[in-house]
Symmetry: C2
DNA sequence: GTCTATACTTCGATAGAC
DNA sequence: GTCTATCGAAGTATAGAC
C-alpha cells in the first residue's frame, strides 16, 4: 500500500518547533501551531490527538537527530571535544532547532527533561574518552555550553568572546605539569 | 504618620517567588499566589493592581538584592572571582531565590531579561578587574555558571564535579607562559 | 483593607458536517 | 482528511458588599 509520506504531519511539527523557538519558553497554543502549519485546530487534532501527543512527536524527532549527532561526534577525526566546540557547525542546523524546542518543553514534560539530561551525559562521556582528563573535559564542556548559551540567548557573543581553541591549548599545557 | 511596615505585600511577594521556583518556569497563577500568601485573589489585586504590577514588584526586589551583592563582590577581600566561585555561599540565600524567580519571568517580561543581562555584564566586569585577564575571567565565569546550572537544574553536581579552585590554579599557571 | 461574585478571555478538546 | 461549532476548564480582572 503505497502511502504519501504524509507531509501534513511534518509541516505541523515544523511549525511547532518554529513557534517554540520564537516564543522563547512562553506558551505555544494549538491554534498558533495550526495557523502556522496552514491547517485548522481540528485538522491538527486529527494528526495529533492531543497536546501531549504533539509534544511526543517533537521528542521523537529530537531523539532521532540527537542519536545521529552522537555517532558523528564519536567518529569525528578531529576528536569529540573539538567537534563539540565547533558551534558554527551546529548553529542553524535542524538539530539545534529541535534541541532548543525540546529545551522549551523540558519545563512541563518530564520525558523532555530526561532527554536533555541524557544528551549532556553522553556529550561528557564522549569528550572525556577523547581528552582522557575528566576535569578538562568538564571544563571544556561548561565553557562551550556557556558560550553557546550567550550566543543563543543574548543573540550575540558576550564580550570578550573566548577562543576555545586557545583555551584548550592553555589547559592542555597544564596536563604535563601535574 | 507611623504606618505598619505592611507585611501583606511582602508575604505576597514571598509566595510569588516560592511558586515561581517550584513551578520551574511553568505558569504561576494569581489564585495560586493568593492562596499561598493566605489572601484571596481580590485581596492580592488590591495590593498589586494587575499581573504586571506583581511582576514589577518582584523585579524591584531583585534589583535591590543584586545591587547589594555587587557591592559585596567588589569589596570581597578574597577577590571578585573567588567570591563568585563560592556557590555554597550563594545557594540558599534570598538573592538566589529572587534570581531564579526573575529568570523564570525573563521569558515573558523584557525588563526581567534586561536585568539578568545587566547582572551578567557586571559580574564579568568585576571578575575581569580582579583577575586582569579577560579570557580567564570569561572562562571562570562560564565554568562557575555551568556548575551552578547543573547543580540547580539537575539537583546534584554533574559527575565529575570540577574543582574551581584547582582549575583557577591551572589556568593562572599558564598566564606567565604567554 | 479584604472578601465574594461574576464578567471576560483564552486554551484544549469533542462532535459532527462536509 | 479537514473544517465549523461549541463545550468546559482555567486565567485575569472588575464591581461592589462588608
Amino acid at each position: 500500500m503505497a502511502q504519501h509520506r504524509t507531509s501534513a504531519r511534518e509541516s505541523i511539527l515544523d511549525a511547532f518547533v518554529d513557534l517554540l523557538i520564537e516564543s522563547n519558553g512562553a506558551g505555544v497554543t494549538l491554534d498558533e501551531v495550526a495557523k502556522r502549519a496552514g491547517v485548522t485546530k481540528g485538522g491538527l487534532l486529527y494528526h495529533f490527538g492531543s497536546r501531549k501527543v504533539l509534544d511526543t512527536g517533537l521528542l521523537d524527532r529530537f531523539e532521532q537527530l540527537a542519536n545521529e549527532d552522537y555517532a558523528r561526534m564519536e567518529a569525528a577525526p578531529e576528536g569529540a571535544a573539538t567537534y563539540y566546540a565547533k558551534l558554527a557547525d551546529y548553529i542553524g542546523t535542524d538539530l539545534e532547532r529541535v534541541c532548543i524546542a525540546t529545551g522549551m518543553l523540558a519545563k512541563r514534560d518530564a520525558r523532555a527533561a530526561d532527554l536533555v539530561r541524557q544528551m549532556r551525559t553522553i556529550h561528557f562521556n564522549l569528550m572525556n574518552a577523547d581528552l582522557g582528563d575528566p576535569m578538562l573535559a568538564r571544563a571544556t564542556m561548561l565553557i562551550v555550553d556557556g558560550m553557546y548559551y550567550d550566543l543563543a540567548t543574548i543573540g550575540e557573543p558576550f564580550t570578550p568572546e573566548l577562543d576555545v581553541a586557545a583555551f584548550l591549548s592553555r589547559m592542555l599545557a597544564t596536563k604535563s605539569g601535574r
